[in-house]
Amino acid sequence: MLGYLVRRLATAIPTLLLVSIAVFALIRLIPGDPVQLMLGDSADPQSVAALRQQLGLDQSMPVQFGLWLGKIAMGDFGQSITTGQAVLPLMIARFQVSAIIVLMAVALAALISVPGGLIAAWRQNKATDIAIVAASTLLLSLPSFWLGLLLLLFFGLKLGWLPVIGYVPFSESPGAALVYLVLPIATLTLIEIGVITRMSRASAIEVLRLEYVTHARAKGVPEAGVLARHVLPNAFAPTWTLIGLILGNLLGGIAVIETVFTLPGFGRLMVDAIFARDYPIVQGCLLFTAVIYVLVNLVVDLCYPLFDPRVTAE
């Protein structure tokens, strides 16, 4: 198990290195003077000179990269051009908002979809299955921002049950915070139910045709036991991979939800930064996202041995 963990970590490191090179290169690709880009047009000559020296612009690219990487490692992601805030704490604060929404939505969706897909596979081609497949296909065809707008329109504007704009941090008041988060979480949950149910159903169908399922029935195991003990543990792996991918993709996709519901989240941070040409934030967000993505995949991979003992033997 430890060997597996070490091996997985080891493959993550070169990836992160390449990613940081890519992010570094990206900003350098933007036409214009890097220092002006970093400080904005209205910066004073001293700061410009100071940053020019810090970034080592007179030195070779690898050295610049090294300097930059060194500062990142220290947690110094620079300052926002527009607000002057330190980038890292800002990103973390915004990330917490997005993370709550994403994690709750995916967890809720998984709780509903995994058993849902299993039941659909068990009743393949019967009425229950057809209904479940139709519903999931419909749900995943809806663009998330449109669904959000519709829910907003209906529950927020027409019925007035839920607030349309605004946000209260969890730390202040969980109850109030939840009220603002219901709609965004609901939107995301519905979409992800569509996605996860399909995968859960497909992999359950695969497993149901395997011999050890027939063997379990031949032993006299009741259907519920067959599904829960024999089908689920083996069918779960591809769904788990998918959940990892979804979590990663939502790091970007959350931006539209945050726009619809006007939430101060991570996605919105990056989008606003792009509009404002606030490059330190853009750079920081990209790097942050990549690291989170790699971490998420790592956690997902580390959980595999829990339901597939063959993995560690590899």
Binding site: V19, P143, L150, L157
Partner: protein, 275 residues
């Protein structure tokens, strides 16, 4: 339930009908729309659907139906070009690296995995930063963002095909590696690529709509379904049709693509080609 061998089943047919219709609309819109999508008319602002304007007018008095059609044109074209780019580049890289393996493979896959470390949208966003927000930028950014997925899938397919005995047989006959790659592996890899291309068309359409919704895609006044929805936000309650039309268009397109993609996947199920 027996899987249809030549037809695509009911779902597939519905998918084809949906996509087909929208495709025809998109092509037609390139040449003709009921009204000019860009012409303003402040007199006709925010009019609900009527005989003259089937989908009503927007906040600048522009005909929504024409804008939706033009949007179809724009979205389909962008998605199509993006998919063409990603599939061509991705398949070539995937076949080469999957067949040759060794150092080429390892280096290429490390780069590929690094790109895959970014969620598609974010990668596209960052590339947009460099290229600027316009039609070409979107195509290039999304194309580059989605190529790594194609490389991965194609490489996977090629790796499994390599182990098949008919590839070894080709070597036994005396065929060169390049010949085997093109004569034996590529044709058999096309089926999964076709399925992937269909799904990818859907992802890019959604991605392009999202980017436009955020204001980072095709800039107004040129209509795409995404930026139409963005513009509809302030008028959501009063002029519901503005919010419904573009969304329904996207949803129908996605539905058609998903149904078609599923039907194609069933059709090309490897289990069906072995007796």
């Amino acid at each position: 339930m027996s899987k249809p061998r030549f037809g695509l089943g009911l779902n597939g047919m519905i998918g084809i009908v949906l996509i087909g219709t929208l495709l025809i609309v998109a092509i037609v819109a390139a040449f003709w729309t009921p009204y000019d999508p860009l012409s303003l008319s402040l007199r006709m602002r925010l009019k609900p659907p009527s005989a003259a304007h089937w989908f009503g007018t927007d906040e600048f008095g522009r005909d929504v139906l024409s804008r939706a059609m033009a949007g179809a044109s724009a979205s389909f074209l962008i998605s199509f070009l993006t998919v063409a780019f990603a599939i061509t580049v991705g398949t070539t890289l995937g076949v080469v690296t999957g067949y040759l393996r060794g150092w080429t493979d390892r280096v290429l896959m490390m780069g590929n995995d690094a790109l895959l470390a970014f969620p598609g949208i974010l990668l596209a966003l960052s590339l947009m930063v460099v290229m600027g927000a316009n039609r070409h930028g979107v195509i290039l950014a999304l194309g580059i963002a989605y190529t790594p997925s194609v490389v991965r899938v194609v490489r996977g397919t090629v790796l499994s095909l390599r182990e098949k005995e008919f590839v070894e047989a080709s070597k036994m006959i005396g065929n060169s590696d390049i010949y085997s790659m093109f004569r034996h592996i590529l044709p058999n890899a096309l089926a999964p690529v076709a399925v992937l291309a269909t799904s990818m068309f859907g992802w890019t359409l959604l991605a392009e709509s999202s980017l436009s919704f955020l204001g980072l895609g095709v800039p107004p006044p040129a209509p795409t379904w995404g930026n139409m929805l963005a513009a509809a936000r302030p008028h959501l309650e009063s002029s519901v049709w503005l919010g419904l039309v573009p969304g329904i268009c996207i949803a129908l397109t996605m539905l058609g693509i998903n149904l078609l993609g599923d039907a194609l996947r069933d059709r090309f199920d490897p289990r069906m080609t072995t007796a």
